[in-house]
């Protein structure tokens, strides 16, 4: 109950933030401009529209999660609004989860809006709504939920600028960590390989949520990808939120 009250208030806070609309505007612009880009392309124009559209949704969604998420808890502490909140009969964990779900709700609405524009642009080319594209957006959403948890974690103990840098690093590392898999395959068995394997296990692999290529190129989706990506997202998000709760529950609000 309390979590949902705080989540709704967080949603209200986020949707009244002008930064969100600026990002939404640029993402819409980017999706629409994909059509212009397609005109200049030799080959399958629809693929370009789909590719650029999905990439825009992913990129601007990540920016929303990072820019709003990193200030979420920090602002409450900095502006001291948390003083009145914690003086009410709520637990710190409820506050943190309320903030997290509030932003997840905001992202869901924003992603929904971006997807509608994207699907409309694709529809102008193909005259059909493709299920695969919706699926790709759902996977992007899973990735953004994880990124939100990371942003909230950093927001618990760091300033928004530093938190944004940390969260952005997490995002970039997450998209390039898959190359360690290749390195593991090429490294002979031994201590070095074990160390790389441990690092790979600890680092996020956000490519688990990337099915853009398969969807755009109409390739078959790897079997079990639904469960794999969903399970990975839920477990990793829960782990990050647990860390955030541990940091937050013993923090002094000076």
């Amino acid at each position: 109950m309390i979590i949902s009250v705080i989540a709704r208030n967080t949603f209200k806070e986020a949707v009244r933030d002008r930064v969100l609309y600026l990002l939404l505007f640029f993402s819409a612009l980017s999706i629409v401009l994909a059509r212009v880009l397609a005109i200049l392309t030799v080959g399958d124009r629809v693929k370009v529209v789909k590719d650029v559209g999905l990439a825009s949704i992913s990129f601007f969604g990540a920016l929303m999660a990072i820019l709003i998420g990193t200030g979420l808890v920090y602002k409450e502490i900095e502006k001291r609004t948390i003083f009145t909140l914690i003086s009410k009969p709520i637990r710190r964990v409820e506050f943190l989860l309320g903030k997290f779900f509030g932003l997840v709700l905001t992202l869901a609405v924003m992603l929904g809006a971006m997807s509608l524009i994207f699907l409309a642009v694709v529809f102008l080319h193909t005259f059909q709504v493709e299920f695969g594209l919706i699926l790709a957006v759902v996977f992007i959403f899973l990735e953004l939920v994880l990124l939100t948890a990371v942003a909230v974690l950093f927001s618990c103990f760091s300033t928004p600028i530093l938190s944004s840098l940390f969260a952005l690093s997490f995002y970039l590392i997450g998209h390039f960590s898959w190359s360690l898999e290749t390195l593991i395959k090429r490294t002979p068995a031994g201590a070095t390989r074990t160390i790389i394997q441990i690092i790979y296990m600890l680092l996020p692999d956000l490519e688990n949520f990337n099915i853009k290529t398969e969807v755009v190129q109409n390739l078959p989706l790897p079997s079990g990808i639904w469960l794999g990506a969903f399970g990975y997202g839920v477990v990793y998000t829960a782990f990050i939120l647990l860390l955030a709760v541990l940091v937050f529950r013993r923090r002094d609000f000076i």
């Binding site: 009250v5 609004t81 009410k88």
Partner: protein, 305 residues
Amino acid sequence: MGSVLELQNVHKSFKLGFIPKTKEVLKGISFSVAEGEIFGYLGPNGAGKTSTIKCVLGLIFPDAGTISLFGRSPLDPKSKEKLGFLPENPYFYDYLTALEFLDFYAQLFGVSKDERTERIVRLLKLVDMERAADLPLRKFSRGMLQRIGLAQALINEPSFVILDEPLGGLDPLGRKEIRDIILSLRDSGRTVLFTSHILQDIEMICDRVAIVVGGRVLSQGRLADLVSEKILFTEITVSGLSAAELAGYGECVSIRDGRALLKVFSEEKVQAVLDLVRERRGGIHALIPRTHTLEDLFVDMVTRS
């Protein structure tokens, strides 16, 4: 009467700075607030008033000592069900309107929708903010925020209200109105703890006080017990007499527009001054006996500490 809040030997220190340096802000705070009283927590800036309140609310964790709020730990959410709190500087969600703001806090207490509407209307009237109900808080002046903050503190109909510097940032009329609200809270059986560094506020409305200086409670008790009723000196403003004539009766503080302000230190000398004025056909414009005030006590303690 039982105590609503009890602090025993509470210690708190912070590590501050790039190279952390420990600063002890609370050095064994002990006091209790009894049911139905207005308790004043008095101290100069930086004495540890707000840090004590933060410990009571569970915003910071004491290093040592115990705090009991309604017989429970402040970390237990149940201890805050009947608690209202107004922070020192009113920081609130500035993107919400006054109505949304109060509704949000009422929802945190699980108040039903009908009940919320009724309470919000009543509280907005109490703090005289009905006209600003649909205005976002970012457009509020400091005084308006203080009033809406007070409404927020009362949204759950608390039996114990903690007000951190509630009269700061208010004009004289506003101060009087908030003082009256605090007194009406006591009259309706509620307990109030309020902090201030303004002695008049405390003197006017508190039943008991604790004076905190440098993280220690130096004195506490009933106001009447702390402040002596004994007359320290009498200030007499007379006219028609020269400074030389008044010299033997007391300390002549000032002479302006033919009026002399005299500080007289004994009852006999006061009578003698009155006799002299009558004899010389002078005038008496004021005769004010000065007793030991809370200010004297406060200044004395701060100086000694």
